[in-house]
Structures are given as C-alpha cells and as structure tokens.
Symmetry: C3
Amino acid sequence: MRLGVCYYPEHWSSDMWSDDAARMKALGIERVRIGEFAWSRIEPEPGVYQWAWLDQAIDVLGSAGLKVVMCTPTATPPKWLIDQHPDILAVGADGRPRAFGSRRHYDFSSPSYFEASRRICEAVARRYGSHPAVAFWQTDNEYGCHHTVVSYSPAAAKRFRGWLAKRYGTIDALNNAWGTVFWSMEYRSFDEIDPPVATVTEAHPSHRLDYRRFASDELVRFNRMQTDILREHSPGRPVAHNFMQLFTEFDHYKVAADLDIAAWDSYPLGALEEQWFAPDIKARYLRTGHPDFASFNHDVYRGMSKQPFWVMEQQPGPVNWAQWNPAPLPGMVRLWSWEAFAHGAGCVSYFRWRQAPFAQEQMHAGLNTPDNRLDLGGEEAARVAEEIRAVVSADGEPKVRAKVALVYDYEAKWLFEIHPQAADFHYPRFAFEYYSALRSLGLDVDVIPADASFDGYSMIVVPPLPVVPDDFGARLGASGAQVVFGPRTGSKTRDLRIPANLPPGALADVLPLRVWRVDSMRPNVTVPVTSDSAALKGESRHWRDLLEVPANMDVLARFDDGHPAFVRHGALHYCASLFDDALTQRIFARVAAAAHLDAAPLADTIRVSQRGALKYVFNYGDTAYTIDNVRADAFVIGSSSVEPQGVAVYRAA
Amino acid sequence: MRLGVCYYPEHWSSDMWSDDAARMKALGIERVRIGEFAWSRIEPEPGVYQWAWLDQAIDVLGSAGLKVVMCTPTATPPKWLIDQHPDILAVGADGRPRAFGSRRHYDFSSPSYFEASRRICEAVARRYGSHPAVAFWQTDNEYGCHHTVVSYSPAAAKRFRGWLAKRYGTIDALNNAWGTVFWSMEYRSFDEIDPPVATVTEAHPSHRLDYRRFASDELVRFNRMQTDILREHSPGRPVAHNFMQLFTEFDHYKVAADLDIAAWDSYPLGALEEQWFAPDIKARYLRTGHPDFASFNHDVYRGMSKQPFWVMEQQPGPVNWAQWNPAPLPGMVRLWSWEAFAHGAGCVSYFRWRQAPFAQEQMHAGLNTPDNRLDLGGEEAARVAEEIRAVVSADGEPKVRAKVALVYDYEAKWLFEIHPQAADFHYPRFAFEYYSALRSLGLDVDVIPADASFDGYSMIVVPPLPVVPDDFGARLGASGAQVVFGPRTGSKTRDLRIPANLPPGALADVLPLRVWRVDSMRPNVTVPVTSDSAALKGESRHWRDLLEVPANMDVLARFDDGHPAFVRHGALHYCASLFDDALTQRIFARVAAAAHLDAAPLADTIRVSQRGALKYVFNYGDTAYTIDNVRADAFVIGSSSVEPQGVAVYRAA
Amino acid sequence: MRLGVCYYPEHWSSDMWSDDAARMKALGIERVRIGEFAWSRIEPEPGVYQWAWLDQAIDVLGSAGLKVVMCTPTATPPKWLIDQHPDILAVGADGRPRAFGSRRHYDFSSPSYFEASRRICEAVARRYGSHPAVAFWQTDNEYGCHHTVVSYSPAAAKRFRGWLAKRYGTIDALNNAWGTVFWSMEYRSFDEIDPPVATVTEAHPSHRLDYRRFASDELVRFNRMQTDILREHSPGRPVAHNFMQLFTEFDHYKVAADLDIAAWDSYPLGALEEQWFAPDIKARYLRTGHPDFASFNHDVYRGMSKQPFWVMEQQPGPVNWAQWNPAPLPGMVRLWSWEAFAHGAGCVSYFRWRQAPFAQEQMHAGLNTPDNRLDLGGEEAARVAEEIRAVVSADGEPKVRAKVALVYDYEAKWLFEIHPQAADFHYPRFAFEYYSALRSLGLDVDVIPADASFDGYSMIVVPPLPVVPDDFGARLGASGAQVVFGPRTGSKTRDLRIPANLPPGALADVLPLRVWRVDSMRPNVTVPVTSDSAALKGESRHWRDLLEVPANMDVLARFDDGHPAFVRHGALHYCASLFDDALTQRIFARVAAAAHLDAAPLADTIRVSQRGALKYVFNYGDTAYTIDNVRADAFVIGSSSVEPQGVAVYRAA
C-alpha cells in the first residue's frame, strides 16, 4: 500500500522541482509518474533529443527518495511528426482525419506511427532503462480515451483485410460465417472488403463486430511493441498501463496479458456525470460518486493484474472534463483511497501534484492549487499516508479473495452496441447493476473473464453474455458454484449468428432452455413478475427472453402473461429479463444463501470489503453509521461510529 | 383473399426447399415472393449468370402448387458492380457517397446504374417471363427505404438542371416563379443551379421543393424502366411494388400509375415505435399497434391500386429494426391479416417464411423460428387460411366502397417539411389524425389524391393541403358532398408562393375566406375554442389561420380571442386550426350527420369495417367487446363477444 | 424620434413604388432602408451595372419626402461571383464550403471577396454618395447571422497565422502564453499552427479563444473597409450597421467604434423562442416577448452608438424564422416601438413595408399584407407616428442618463463557450438575468464595456467577467459606486490562464479574495444560501466559487456548507454563485439602497423607464395596471390605468 502522484516537471520551472520532491516525500508519497506527454520536450526537433532536463528531473526525484514511474510519450506525437507523416492521424466515421491539437491523434494501424513510436520508446527505454530511480514503466496513456480505438483510415482498411484473411482463410469461409448472401453482400476476395462505415443503413453486424475485434487487436499489437522494448531495455521493472473503465472499445484483458500491473484512472465524480446514471442518481451522489462505481473497477483491474493493481490517477478534487464538475465532499479523497486499498490496490497515485494554470486541464484540481498551496485533497492524502502504516502493521498486504465471481466481457459490449435489438441495452450498465446488487448484500466480488478458472467460487454471476466459450457450461457445471445467468446469455455464436439450437446455444447442454422468442421493451414499459414467493415478485424491464422449459426445470417466477421469468436447473439459475434493482438483490440473496454465503442487505450508502483479516467500512451517506458487535480495540482506523464520508477498518472476528 | 409468404431459397440449403414448399402449401399459403436481394447469386461475377439454383427453386415451388412473385434484384447491387461504377453510390446531404455494405446504395440518377439495372431486369425477365410458376412481378424493393430517394451527386445535379429547363423553359421564368430576386439568388442560366444543400441557412424553399419533385420523378422513371421491361418479357403477369407508408419521399401515386398492384409492407409495431406517436401511446399500443395505422395504409394503397392491393410483407412476430421491438400479443397476426382483407386486400403475404440466423435481420421473426419450428405467427396464419374459406364462401371478394373520402398528398408532406413555419407541423401525422377521427366514428374511408373523381362520396375530408388543383374548389362544390378542410389548405401556389389573394387561394372562389395572418404555436401552448354549441368547444393546437369571413358565412366556433375557429359555407367547412382529438371527432360527426351518414363514436380500441355484405369487427383492447343486435347465425367468424385481439365477421343486416 | 421602414423596390413592380411611397409618408414614416440584398440587380453580370431602376426607386422615395438609408449589398454576393471565385465561400467546422443559395455565404478572410466588396461598395457609394435623398448608410446586413463569423478556410488559416505573429511576436512567446507544453502541443513556427478544429478532443482553449478574437477582428476590418469608402464618397451621412443581440460571435463594440449609429434588429417573439428561456417562460410571454429582452438590447446598443441608436428592423407581426412563430398580441407593435424610444432610440424602422409572397421569408409579416392591405402592425405604427408628436412637443428628444451600469462583454461569451467547466454556463443569459433583476426594481440601466468610464454611476453590476482589464479594480474603487460582481469575475488572464494569485486575479488588489476551488453544478442541483438576514436567504445554482476571505471582509450570506456566498468589502460586493432570481433581486435592492437609489420591486409584467422629464410605463401583462399618485394632466400618452399591452407616458414629478 503505497501512495503516488502524477507529476509534470516540464510544466514548471526547474527551480521548483527540489521543493516539490521534498514536499511529496514529506506528504508520504513514494512513487511519481512522469513523462507521458513530454515528447515535444524530449525530441523538440526531428531526431534531436534533449535529455538534460529529464535527466535532472529524474535525479531530483530519485535523490529525494522517490521512485519514478516512467512513461512512453506516445499518446501525444508532436506537430512536426504529424506534418512529416499526415497518415498518422486516425480517420473518423465521418471520413475526416482527426486533427492535431489535443491528444491521441494517431492511428494504431499507421505504419509511420508504429515506427515512430518504436523509435521514441527505444530512445526513452535505453536512456532510463537502468536508471536507479526508474522503478516502473507505463505504456502510452489511457488507451481508448476520446474514442480513439477505431479508425477508418486506408491503413486500417488494408490491415483489416489481412486480419480477415488470417481469421477466415478463404473468402468463402468469411461469406459463410457472416451470411453475406443476405442483401447480396457477398465478396469475391478479401480485397473487396471495406471498413463497415457510411453505409445507407446499418452495416452487416458480423462485419462490424470483426472490425471492432480487429481495432482492439491493433491496439494490443501496438502496446506489445512497447512492452517488448521496455522489457528488453529495462529488465525487471514492472510495466503498467493506466486503463479507464469508461474506455471499453478494446479488450482490456488482452492488453493486461502483456503487462505486469493493470492500473486504472479513478474519477468517481466525472464518471458519475458522464455515464448512464439517471439524473436523480447523478444529483444524489453528486459529491461522492456512486458507492459501487470505483469498487467495480478496482475488482475489474485486480482480476487482470499480475501484480497488485494500481490506481494510477486518483481524482483529488474537482475535475474539468465532465459536463458538470462538482467538488467532492471533504473526506472523499481519503475514502476513495482506502476503498482502493480495501479492494487490493498496491498503489494509489493522485492526479496531479499541482493544478496547471494553463491549457485544456487548467480546471483540474491537484494535490496543490496553482498558487502552490496544499489543497484539501493533499491534506487527505497525507492522512492516508499516515493511516497506511497502522493498517500494514496490523495485517500486512494480503491478497483479496472473494467467494463470488462476476463474469465480465468486452466483446459483449461491442456486440450489444452493434446489434442491440433494444436501443438502451447497455452492457456495462447491466453488468454494473448485477455487481451493485451483489455489493449491496455485503459480498466481495472477483470480476473475471469468461475463460477464467472458476475454482474456489461459491457463486458465479453472469450478466448478459451473448457469446459463451464452448466449454462454458461444462466448466460452470463442474465448478460446484451456484450460478446466475442474465438474459441473452448464449444468444449468439462467435460469428454473431443465432445458434442453430436457438439461445442459450452451447449452454443448453447444461441448461436445457430454448429461447423461442425475444421481447424488447421501451423505457416506459415494464412487465410484472409474479411468484408464489413474495421475494420473487417485482418488475421486469428492457428485455424478455420467452422460454420453453423442460418439465423438470423449476420455474420460480413468471411474467404476468405466464412466461417463465426466473428458472432454476440444479445450481444453474436463469433470469429471463432484467429485473428492478430490489428484485435482482433478492434473487442474488436467495442464490447466495444456496451457496452458503453470508449475504444481508446493507444500507444503500454503506459498503463493506474484506482484505485479509481486516474488514473495511465506507460511509457514502450523510448520516453516521454504527457498526454493531465489534469491540473498540478491534479498530485499526476509526471506530464503530462511521461519520459521513468516513472509513473504519477493524479486525474481523 | 390469398395468403403469401416471402422466401429466400438462397439463404438455405437446397435440401430444405421441398419440405419448405410442402409446408407452405399445407399451411394455406398460395403465393411466394422471391429474389429481391439475390443479385449476387444470380450474377456472381460480371456478366456471369447462374440460373441453375433459381430455376430449381422456382420449379420446386411451382411443383408444390405455389405461385411465385418474382422480383427484380435492383435494391442490392453487388460489390463488384459498385467497384466497377462507384458513381452508382448516392451522395448524402453531407457530401459523402453512401457506401456499399447494406442495401439501397444506389442513385436513381446514375446513368451507370440505370443501364446495369436495365440489363439485370431484362436478364431476369427473359429467363422467367413465361415460366408457368411465375405469376406476378415485384419491382425492386421498398423504394425510399432508409431515405434513399434524394441524392446530391453530380449526376443528380446534372439531371436536375435538365428537369428544371423542361419545367420552366427559360431561366427568367424560373427566376420569376421562385422569386430569386430575394437575397440576390438570381440565376443567369440553368447551368448555374446546384442542388439546394449545404447552404448557410435554409435554401430557397421553391428550389428545395422542386428538388424533391425532381428526385421523386427520377424514381418514377427508374421504376417505369423496369415495368416496361417486365411487361415486354412477361406479358399478362401483374406487376407490383411493395411500398411502405413510412417512406414518403416520393409520390406513391405516380409510381402506382405504372403498376398493376400497389402492395405495401405492414409492420404495425415497428411503425408505432418509429413514428410520431407520444411515448404514452407507444406504451399503450405496444403489442397491438395503433388501431388505425395499418387501416390507414390499407386505404391509401387500395386507392391507388388497379387490382386489389396486397400486403406484400406482413409482420409475423417481433421485428429487428425499430428502436425497441416488442412481441405482438397472441392473436394480433391473425387480426392484422383480417383487417387487411376487410379493407380490400387481395393477398396478405408474411415476411418471412423462416427467421434467418445471420446478418442484419437475424432478429426479425418469421412464420418459423430459425430452428425450423412453426412459430406463433405461423399458427395464426394457418388459422387465417382456414377462415378465408368461410368468408369467401359467404360473400366472395367484393370491392370496398366507402362514402367518405380523405384527400392525401405527397407533395404536401415535402412542402411542410421544407417550409413548416411551425417546427412540428407534420403532414402525415395530421392526415392520420383526421383519418383516425373518421374511423373512430365507424366510418369506412377511401383515401384519394386531390385530382381524383369525387363522385359518389357523401363526405370529403381534406387535411392541410397547401397546394390545391385549380379546379379543386369547383369540383368539390359540384360533388354534392359535405366537405371539411383543415387549416393551411390552399395556402401556397404550385411554385411555393403565397397566393395573390392570400390563402385559401383558388379555393376562395367557393369558400370566400381570407387568411390575413397565421399563428404558429409551440407544443406547450393551446388556445381555447368556444361556441354556443357545447359539441364545438375544445382546444386548438399547433396552428391558427386568422380568418376574415364574409357576413354570410356561419361562424360555428371561435377562438377565445374572437377569431373564427370553425366556419361553414354551404356544404364547405373550414377548420382554422388543428383541434384536440375529441373536438375533431365531434366536428366530423356533425358533418357526417349533415351528409346523412351513420356515424357514432366507437370505444377507442374497437374498429369496424364493411366489405361487401360483411361487417368486420376488430378488438385492439384488453377486455371483451360485445356486438349488440346481431343474430348468432349471422356470424361467419367469431361471435357477438369479441375477445381481446379478436375478430368477428358477420352479415350486415 | 422617427419611424422608418425596410423596403425592397426590386421585389415589386415599379408601378407600385409611387403609391408605396405616398402611403409610407401618410403613415408617418420618414426613413426608408433599401438595397441590402440587391447586388444581383445592381450588377446582374460581372462588371455590368444597372443603375436605372435604383435611380428611379430612390427618386420616387425622395420625391415623396422620404429619406433613404442606403445599404451596401455585400451580405448576398451573386452566383456569378461565387462561380468566379469559389474561395469566397466560408468553410464550416465540418470542413465543407458553405454553399450559395441563401445569404452570408462569404468568408471575411477571402481576399477575392474583400476586393469584390470594395468594388461594389465604391460603385454604390460613388453613385449615391451625394444623392439628396440618401441621408444614411448601412454596411452589409446583420453581421454574424447564421453563425457566419468563424470560417475554417485556408484563407482564414493563413491570415490567422499572421494575426498570431503580430500578437505574439515570437513563437516562443505564443508557446509560453498558451502553455503548449501541455500535451506536447508546442509549435516551432507560426506556420505550423492550424485553426483549432476537428481535433480528437477539445482543442487548446487559448488557441480557440485567439481564433475567435481573430475571426472577430477580420469582421471589424471588413466593416472598416466599407465605412472608409462610404465616408470618402458620402461625407456627412451617418453610417450605421444593424446588429442583432443574438449574433455575438464578434465584438460589437469594436464594429460600433467605426460607425455613427449602432442599430439593431428587434424581434422579441423570435428571440424568445430561439434563446435560452425555459419552455414555461416561452409559453408565458409567447405573444409579448420577455419584458426585458428588447430593453436589454436597446441599452446595449445605446451605449455603443455615437448618435442615438436605431431599431433598424422592428418585428411588425409574426415572423418566419423561429421554430414556432406566434402572432403578437394587438398593441405589442406599438408597445415595442415606444419602449425603444423610452430607451433613447432615434428611429424605429419596421421590417418590412409589405410581406413578400415568395422565397425564404414569405411568412414574415410586414406593415402590409402581401395583397397590399394595411396590416395590424401598420395600424399600430400609424398610431405611434401620431403619438410621437405629443411626446416630442412635451419634452423634446433628451438623452437617457442612467445611474446604474451593467458591464457587458463579448469575449466573455466566447471564453465561457470554449471553456465552460459547467455545460450550461451561458454568459448572455446570466448577464441578462442580472439586467432583468435591475429592471424589475424599476432602475434604468446603461450597458457598458469593461473599459468604459465609470463616472456618474451610483451602482455598477458586473456579470461573470472572466478577463478584467488591469486597471478595472482601481477604476471601480475610484468610481465611488456601489459595485456587485458575479462569480468567476477575474478568473482568467487575457491568455486564458488561471491568474498566478488565483481568481479574482488583478481584482484582488481591491477585493482581497482567493477563490481556492470551484464547484460546478448540474441543473437539478441547488445549494441553499443562509444568512442572518432573511432577505439574503435563497438558492444557489450552476456554480460556486469557494472563497478564502480575510477577517475584515463582511460575509453577508453563506452556503449551507459554510462557505461564503455573498461578501462585501467596502463598496465592493461579490456573489460567489448565481442565485435564484428572487435572491438576486433582493441583493441588488440592498446594494441599490446603499447607493441611495430609489429601487422597489415592480409587478413582473410592468416595466418603467425614464427619458428626460418623461416616465414611460409598459404593461406586458394580461390585467390593467394602475399608476398611483400621478395627476391626470401629467399624462402625455395614456392615463393612470394602463391596459394590457398598453403604454403610458407622463411628466415625472
């Protein structure tokens, strides 16, 4: 459990660096990330490198006892490079190149940029690969930010054709897989295939899904080029990338497979404002963020990180990039920091040391104000640094082990976006709502991919997962866990077709359903769910699978027109719809009970986590919360009365 | 009264064809539409035709006793043709060609495509023009779908100039007609005129209206090329096109004039979701469709069809293309089928035989599920097939004859779209609301163009018709019918100018009004309507014509600021506004009474129709409806108690 | 106090001109504006001028005793000119040239157009510069209409680089000022800088603000070219331009500095519909306009006009260009006219003499209907003409002198648009709301720029003004006035950076605050404001500055979390938020009382103004209003009972 900070020596006079480093250290900060946007200072003219300032900055930080997280600067190629190679610019769906003047103005498929990136990465890696202060690396910055994964450039089109040829072998195989006979879309060769854009009406969904897979793979290849260089020139230093939950246009699992540390950038207030939440929820959690949003992402990235995951950028105050940017309540920067550690973080690094008084992000708070006074977030970070010692001395830094797993998938998002059948069928939202229901029962959750091992889990929840691995049902059946599936699970083949046996496709081997019809519902429509059990009554929203079920399957709840709504087959449960939050919670509580898990509803602003022997309690609400039945001397942080925005940590009985 | 189905032999293994044909026949299906998207299979390489599979498919269908509706495949030119002639692609208002990869990716003005279409039509027509199983033809598919009528290509610009030269003769005539002196928009020659697009603010409305007329005429010309070829090579076989109400960017009357059968594609649930209806209406009729929507279109296409109109595609279950795609209630497929016949349909053809498991429309239901089991829609179709025999034996297949006519116009829609003066002045909506008011009174309605004969009608309703034919007033006056005009009737000349005598322009000869001012009202504003007659009180919405009326005109209702709201001059009635639904219904009831028609309000989910000696009753609601005063032995289908989603047919007294 | 009218002789047969002129004169009209869209008639072919018709038109008007306002016709270059020089067309943010076919289709930076404009202006100015009937000039027409200030053309890009070079001298100075080191956006030369458009995410805000300044300066230069020509060829005739409040993409002060008369075009109903007002406000003032909207603009343009300002175009009835276009209530055309005079107008000129029956604006009312009968607006104009005599004879035409000033700025609008930090931070709205609060207290207001003299004002209100002149605080302090600042005042430097001492930057010298954090709030969030004074309780909306205040500063109200909401330091008051309307009114009443001004809340539909010795009362409501304590013989117009839409003018005691 360490604290870090993001720092931009190039933004400040070198006169300030020593003082900055000393104050960081005094505050309890141990890691400093630098350099991710510094290309124009490292190489101000083509081929002319200026290392002196950066050498000095790293030396100053290292001398202060800080460890540097060095970045490759490829997120912001300088203007001279763009002017040399205009093909670096990605092309939007509107057919226009995306211009220089902000960031991420590059195309993952551009050969010029691939080479230029290789060159600058090698230069930086060679220079600092064995510098004693450089202890970690970060590749690029926030892949996918500003919708920069998919490009419609000629370079992308060309590489897509090669990708298709590799995937399908022959054009006949592609035509068969996609079903291009529909609407005379048949191709005679891979060379005839264009990116699926600017069509009269929707382009072919299999074509679109493959284009999204291709774009994701291009990013993976780009990142791997960088990790290979870094490992060659800086052996032994962990390599990280800072993901963001919001940027799901590529497969985070595949990128993480090439990293040592999956880090993410946590902006609870900006995320609340920009995501799917309803206006009343946005107002309610305006200054705290949603109680489950950061947690969800901690669990996502913990799952894919080889070493303990990091929060590479932690919101320290108001930000600048959401439509509205409220100030967090006092205490929230501390709460968010502890929440990350409770979920297993190895490091929480604040963005940024000092607010910059210029450019696009001048309204983004730092730990210090632009006039270099310690801001509220800085004070809270200092408190966290102190508290870390108490916690680590009480229990060390054990791994988080959850009994519940939630299966989370990136292709599912692309697929439902491309082929929704219901305009508001938003995969991350539904996955998050399942996660939130589990958390509202006090359960710790691992978030895992569909091809993960299921060993050790008592309960596995599968939000709508259209494409399931072939052995998914068999492995789930063998796991011994209680399993809950959301609707539309198994509804598509890998080629984005309807399975020959209808949904749930391959799952039907273990869960002998047949979804003979689907029913998509606009937002102002719900269907009542009825049951003999009062706990299973509620409302159905968004979607219904109409099920044909065998006589030996338990129909636990039905829609009011008689179709099965919630069924059980041994340990496997299937939700034929997305239910209201309360019904989802009761269903999960029922399944958790079957799994012999201790699950009970929490107040909706209280969340709990367990890491090792310690239990963490977080209060997102506006009234104090009392923890019952814990002895006063068990508390490592706080006490049994948890103030609003407060944190308590105690030894679990 | 026949049933048909849309079938895609190219989507399935030829092994399945015989069984499919046999099962169609057994179900009661008699016509099978094929081939409209099969170009890439008919001509997989340039100039290389592969007839064998299609020969076989047609033979299989014919051998089973089915009659084939053969289509020209021009809605989906294959990729190789686009690559040969990129100018085939239409150009959007954004200046970009609309790419290959879905359908309707062609420009009606492209000379390359006109020639390529002629070639493939001739090839198909020669091959099957005299095949014994081929009994009908369909040209292309759903002209206008996906906003594909208007193109801004160089080819269209060039042909537009020729169209203008033909219409106006001299550039001075055009300048005078349009009034280009306004804003210095004068042209010195036709060559100076571009398509009206990408202008700084709105382009000249007369220019825009002529461009829309031109685009519609281009489509008419394209279709006529096809009907000429089909009539040459397949004499005696009726030629149809499958229109869709939603696609009103061209003049359906002009296309229908070149056809034998005006068919349309009826998707009551998709249409409800995608059209102007308010969210509460969309929720209320979620699984039935609006009670008047399909009927309105039956009456539209009956009016323009030389032979009995067809429903070429009938929704058989949930579809895929609306924002939300609910499942119809059980019984609705049957109800919709009977409603079509009640309105005079010659054939109801379901789309499609079997749901395809691939490509864009894989979520579109068929009569059979993708795993080839008979779906609910298939069961209901079988029931309809049986019931047809009873109905035909009771009364044959008489023509529908209505006493009430509603005047419906396509240019009116374009004109109000181009030049609305009130952002939500939506012509099809207002025409539909007038139609719906008539239907809610139990009246059968013919939908006719403004230049139709008015003989035999007792009552004629004219929704807002901006441009009236010169002799419109005289013919209406001579008809002897009671007439109701909506506001803005006669408000424009053919060149989209204000008439010299102000609105209602030429109509003032018979209806001596002067609309001296207009008043457009935002959606949250209404104006009360007052009258000595309680039945004529209500609310005015959207729009007001402020009328100067002669002393001898009856002012039957006034707005609360004293301006006339509803006036009568002999048999001619003028509504100076769009009234609330209930007031519109009461006004129409009053006029119907003056026309000696039997009109009485129905429950809002009950609709009735008469065809020949039989009366049809449809229940769109959720409670049973009782038909009074009909003897039990008069019923041909059903009984005096009509269940929800039920149909009854009885001999009218 | 004169009446005028806009007239288009080229739209009508020359047979009608004499009658038109005679009827204008008889109605009481004295000025006639002509020619602003007549280029295609003046120069129908390149270099071929046709003066005869225009000579005749001017002669007819002059002979009738009317004075002509002659316009330069540069708002509508003809098609032949565009075809000769396609680079005249401005380029949109989408990269496409904006096509011919409406108006304002030109780029202020196009060298071709600058020269063509110079040529036509000289031709017109030479021809009519000394014509006895031509008494005034208007340059172009409604600069900025349809978002035509900013262009992204190559010509604009080239001139922008020159503009930057002039502003910054060296590229290093620019890099430092903007802070381009952020995100590696550093430039090596001015030639590398492109317009800030089409970037992946937001372009650099300083870059964007400079581009807006540049675009405004280009317009100023274009207008100055015209005023120079007019003054050379028509010395002694005042030169005007007709601004519109809605078009704030350029600095109206800078253009006005080159004019003699700042005129504006007043469309109270269209503006209400198209601006920020909430739907219920739009419905409430549907047929009157907002009681403060026209007044605000009268005061804006009075402040920048060397001679008495004009209303060059006054709405005479319904217009055509808003989404909905309601008819004004009878009496409103008169009320609006008198309101303009009450605020100091020298002339109110109606748009237009007669409604045109063709082209884009055919639904725009005139003083006469298209069939040439006097319309309601014409009748009201005649009444105003008569009343003017009584008013002028009672008091002459004195200047308006206000004790209250409101500081209004154009760059502020651009800056907050570019860099809002809160999506709905709409500068003109907030400035208007401050103005409205002052007016609701019966106060007359001067609207002035930030660099104006503050002499003679008792109270100065500063809506959120991000960039303050260096001497702003000192001058305000020296003025002796009571001052109220809105939030975010002084929050940015001229280069769009955060001031080194944090906001309020330079103002802190006189107002020693420190805004250490800001808090932006979504529309469904408010924060209570508490105070010991009941009058200072209310709600905070949109935004909060969190203030650090010295001990000697009065904190008059606080937010409910304790932060200061409203503070006073001597005569300087600072609002840390935007308050609800009622609280703003009470704050301004309190400050007005401190300034010894007579301020009391009016009914919300009553407004009063003083010009010289006369007091004007306007009733926007729907019930009569009684003026107390004024003797009957003091009334010059009306009486103490002011009917709805009524006007009263009386000698102030």
